[in-house]
């Protein structure tokens, strides 16, 4: 069996060599960048806004017990059933139980990365339910039996022609190369599903402690329909989604839209605080909120990296990451891709199995700079590398660094090795890139720099000698 690291390397090598794919991703992200900069430019002070957002999330996460208790109490007071799940399995079991008790057959779902994280669809399908993803991008990847490519743009790796072929094959629609017509095909299919679904499942972008409301951000209106029409609404969210005050959203909603999608504000930002209340004309009779831990408390316990729980899942760090742009979203093999995924996956799924992601980084810091809540992403990647090595040291690294230290402490040996290097390096040509090349992992993709013919020390000595001659 291949390890996760081998899977990642193989997939990354394949995608990186696919120039068509890279072109598609980079074109899409370029148009995002232009829009993002345009709307960021309208802020009077983005950096202060970002600092405030970071402080609000700091307050929320570092007083999580208090705010979470307030959030739950407020929701329950208005007839919402709150379920706190320690693991993904417990969350799945609860939702499957709610579906079974209410004889649910058809489920309409709006986009939720937390549901992806716990493979909720598979569990519900196994229990005999039919699940329809209603977000256009999610629907497309669902029809392809694929995982979302990007946590905000799930189908950004596909062209309109591929989507047209998919719809033709799966839905029997006429082929078209118009994105508008393709969208209308999905709209027609989904309209029927909203009306006949017995249950709607959504995620949430924020959980407002003070008023006991979830906040859902979307552009298409599918989340609104999912949470309005079916008799039961289940929302699943991580415990870190908390913000203390309702008015905090006045900062987070525009920043999420600008950083995440290059929009001033997304089309619908909806707050839901309970099932249909007395005197209201519609809305679900039952509203369930499932709060998921699933090892988030382990990340919380790591004070150094606790700020990774500030994440609002905007995807800005993916969009600017040179690694993501080249290896693509699927290569990661994780629910959360890109820099934030590389930081949190080792905490959520085990450090030793996922430590390779910490090295899938150029440490350029573009992610940290892009993050609207100021998470120190690239330093966390370094910390994960350090922690992984501390826990399970690699013998060859110990030997290599031991040898290096030995050499560096002995100037004579150091100089000698430099000399030997420049003498023997020309022989490297004989094995260059071949199976016997000891430098193959480097030379496979780039030239190895030849050692200088003359060392700096020799050069300096010679130069000083010349100068002394010149002066005297």
């Amino acid at each position: 069996m291949m390890t996760f690291a081998q899977d990642f390397k193989r997939a990354a090598a394949r995608v990186t060599a696919d120039l068509r794919h890279r072109g598609l991703i980079q074109r899409a992200l370029k148009s995002y960048e232009v829009k993002r900069d345009e709307f960021k430019g309208r802020y009077q002070n983005w950096s202060e806004a970002r600092q405030a957002a970071s402080e609000i999330k700091w307050d929320a996460i570092n007083h999580l017990d208090r705010y979470l208790a307030e959030f739950i109490a407020k929701l329950e007071a208005r007839g919402t059933r709150v379920h706190v799940a320690g693991t993904g399995e417990q969350a799945r079991d609860y939702i499957v139980m709610v579906a079974a008790e209410n004889k649910v057959r058809t489920i309409i779902k709006s986009k939720s990365m937390t549901a992806e994280e716990i493979d909720l669809n598979e569990a519900l399908e196994h229990a005999g339910c039919t699940v329809f993803e209603s977000d256009l991008g999610e629907y497309i990847v669902q029809l392809r039996h694929e995982k979302p490519y990007h946590l905000v743009f799930p189908a950004m790796h596909l062209t309109r022609d591929e989507i047209s072929d998919l719809f033709h094959r799966e839905l029997g629609s006429e082929p078209t190369n118009s994105p508008e017509e393709l969208t209308m095909i999905a709209r027609r299919v989904m309209r029927q599903n909203y009306c006949r679904a017995d249950m709607g499942i959504s995620g949430a972008n924020f959980a407002v402690a003070e008023t006991g409301m979830i906040s859902i951000t979307e552009n298409e209106g599918n989340a609104r329909l999912t949470t309005s029409l079916p008799k039961i609404h289940v929302a699943i969210l991580g415990i870190e989604k908390i913000v203390p005050q309702l008015e905090d959203l006045a900062l987070f909603l525009p920043m999420l839209a600008t950083a995440g999608a290059g929009q001033p504000l997304t089309c619908y930002n909806s707050l839901i605080g309970g099932p249909r209340q007395p005197g209201e004309v519609d809305g679900p009779e039952q509203f369930h909120v499932v709060l998921l831990d699933n090892r988030r408390t382990e990340l919380l316990a790591d004070a150094e990296q606790r700020d990774a729980l500030h994440c609002i899942r905007c995807g800005a760090c993916l969009n600017v990451c040179p690694i993501f742009k080249n290896v693509g979203g699927h290569s990661y093999g994780t629910t959360y891709q890109g820099p934030i995924g590389s930081v949190i996956t080792p905490h959520l799924r085990g450090l030793q199995n996922w430590k390779h992601l910490s090295s899938a980084s150029s440490l350029c810091g573009a992610c940290t700079e892009a993050c609207p809540v100021g998470i120190d992403l690239h330093h966390h990647l370094l910390q994960n590398r350090r922690n992984a090595t501390k826990a399970v040291p690699l013998w060859w690294e110990k030997v290599a660094y031991g040898g290096f230290a030995f050499l560096m402490r002995r100037p004579f040996l150091y100089r000698l090795s430099g000399k030997l290097g420049s003498i023997f390096f020309p022989l490297h040509k004989l094995v260059n890139r071949g199976p016997l090349d000891p430098l193959r992992s480097w030379t496979g993709t780039r030239e190895f720099p030849a050692p200088a013919r003359e060392s700096f020390q020799d050069y300096w000595k010679k130069k000083q000698k010349e100068e002394r001659h010149g002066v005297s």
């Binding site: 017990d65 008790e101 256009l136 006045a250 001033p264 619908y268």
Partner: protein, 239 residues
Amino acid sequence: MAFPDQREEVFARIREALREPAPHRHADHSDHTAATEHSAPDEPPPGADTFRAWLPVVGPTLEEQIALFAQNAAQLKADFRAVASLDEAGLALANLARDNAWKKIATHRHPLASALAEKLGLPCLFTDPGYATANLESCDAAITGCDALIAQTGSVLVSSRSAGGRALSVLPPHHVVVAERSQMAPDLAAALRLARRKYAPDWPSFLSFITGPSRTGDIERILVLGAHGPKQLTILLVG
């Protein structure tokens, strides 16, 4: 419905985890032009009053705010019209009904919305007494009230109480919002405060900021209007 909940274990884990304090709360880690910290760790973080200084500029007068709203609405491809009177709004609506060949509309009991809907003389579904989803789905347009308009973003704040339920403002393909000039709020914080004064603590179960007609960019990041919600959004500002 008895089902074991892990509330106690999860809260115990959270409290245990938080025993070690987090090191710092500064957003800019390497940037020399870093923003200043707004609050000490034991103070409350910055509140909504301070956001205004960092978010996009909004003029102080109502006229400036209406102009900004109109500019934002145009960018969002929403149809915004400031009309002098209810009669003028009725005229605008009649033109829309004719141009789009509406056959059936939906509305709710609301001083402006229902008055305008009834003037059209078309078959009209009221959501207030309850309705069948299929019946609402077959309507060509919905006419609703709202809680506020937001100048900074070109948004409309609706709730299950101000806009005839949850579905009326999202299911029909054309949504017409009727608002009064007094409902113009400069920004999101002001709109939320307005809603708080109107509802708290008895909040409606649903509130939504609507910012332009429904849209998607899921296919090659190309903008398409009318993904699942309304393809057209008309905002009539009366007065």
